[in-house]
Amino acid sequence: MPMVMAAADVRRSLTRISHEIIEKSRDILPVLVGIHTRGVPLARRIATVIEEVGGARVPVGALDIGLHRDDLSTRPTTPLSGTQLPADITDRTVVLVDDVLYTGRTVRAALDALNDFGRPEVVRLAVLVDRGHRQLPIRPDHVGCNLPTSVAERVSVRLGEIDGGEDGVWVQGVRS
């Protein structure tokens, strides 16, 4: 299984994304909201870098989109992990964080889920990997790695906090 990002690449990408987020925000830093499962540790890591570089603490939340998916009736139910938002998101800037951006349906569900908690002024999207093949008009604002893939391939992300061991991104299956 070919590795496309090693631990150092993941770290560098997250550092760059953190800097981009600081640049884009003027006075008030955004609320970072990780999408379960791997978006949550990514959001925490970005918050840590922002705190080191920018000197300000960024609130970090977790969003479970299990009840907002548009394909609920075609797949088995999965356990819910719960949504915890650290601050009122109304009139704030929210940066959604996820590991892989693919069809865009997860992000659509996340935007719906956010709506239940308030009306952010701006919502941005940060992803570690953009593998293309969007089915909805959704684009990321911060991308760690643009990875052209075929639909037949599988992108797997491993993060120490969840999977144990070294971070990394791999592509499985036939490359076209």
Binding site: L67, N115, D116
Partner: protein
């Protein structure tokens, strides 16, 4: 798949329902307490026996998951024109229903409905037999209070014989690790409890000092419950949760009641309003538990 009884359900299933219900408690606390999970699904509430809290609770739970709801109660329906139960449910199924919530005074009616239709069925109480969603909300209430049901001592007090709540609770609570003691006059003890994993006694005063929860049942006059003891006064003096008995409960013990309650009979007025009486928590937890069960039945493929 349907949800008809707590008897024989594995512990893992019960715990998954409670875990899911915990998540739905958070959903219910949101500014907009509604998620689109069951959009496009149609739930029919078929209440062939009267009910307020259970029917409203199922309606609210289904709507909070964005399902559509139709409600039916026996009075004012075609049943009074002589239509059979089978024809009634087949008619309702033909309207495109995905799930039926059934309450009926006859034991086993929800099983029959599940057999006649292709719908999933939730038993919302059949006669004196089962009321499994009530037991799950009671389990959730106890788990949220005590953290865990393992080793918890629960006395179920009163008209056990006519109580579907008691039957459902016996199986749910013991499967989750609680120790259940059934407390009732001999005439109100169940005849079918041989082999149940419980202790039985007719002496509430002997156990009241050593329980974590006292679960009080209503005397069911509509099922003949009041005819088997000499007088209500005698019942109150031996089995009522009077102020005096409440004072003899351990300091952190709680009181539950499935409602509707008869103040002054099974529960004293002061006890009913005490902070350690969790009746309103039970009602609130009922929403989350019913959302969890609806979501498990309708949410996935």
């Amino acid at each position: 798949m349907s949800f008809l009884t707590t008897e024989g359900l594995p512990r893992q299933d019960l715990e998954e329902i409670l875990d899911l219900a915990d998540e739905f408690t958070h959903v219910l606390a949101r500014p907009i307490p509604r998620v689109p999970a069951l959009q496009g699904k149609l739930v029919a509430n078929l209440f062939f026996e009267s009910s307020t809290r259970t029917r409203l609770s199922f309606e609210r739970a289904a709507r909070a998951l964005s399902a559509d709801v139709m409600s039916f109660s026996a009075s004012g329906s075609s049943l009074t024109k002589g239509e059979s139960l089978k024809d009634t449910v087949l008619t309702i199924e033909a309207m495109g229903v995905d799930l039926m919530v059934v309450r009926h005074r006859a034991t086993g009616a929800p099983w029959r409905v599940a057999g006649w239709t292709g719908c999933q069925v939730i038993n919302a109480g059949d006669g004196a037999h089962q009321h499994p969603t009530q037991a799950m909300l009671d389990a959730l209430t106890l788990r949220r209070r005590f953290g865990d049901l393992d080793g918890l001592r629960v006395a179920i007090v009163g008209d056990i014989r006519h109580s579907r709540v008691a039957r459902s609770n016996v199986f749910a609570l013991t499967t989750l690790g609680a120790r259940v003691i059934l407390v009732a006059p001999r005439t109100l003890q169940p005849v079918d409890c041989v082999g149940w994993p419980v202790e039985t006694t007719d002496d509430l005063d002997a156990v009241v000092g050593a329980v974590d929860a006292a679960y009080l049942l209503r005397i069911q006059t509509e099922r003949g419950g009041a005819s088997v003891f000499p007088s209500l006064r005698e019942y109150v003096s031996r089995y009522g949760m009077t102020r005096d008995r409440f004072a003899r409960l351990p300091a952190d013990a709680v009181v539950l009641h499935p409602g509707p309650m008869n103040r002054g009979v099974e529960i004293d007025d002061m006890v009913a309003g005490h902070p350690r009486t969790l009746i309103l928590d039970q009602v609130a937890n009922g929403l989350a538990v019913r959302m969890a069960i609806l979501f498990r039945l309708l949410g996935g493929k």
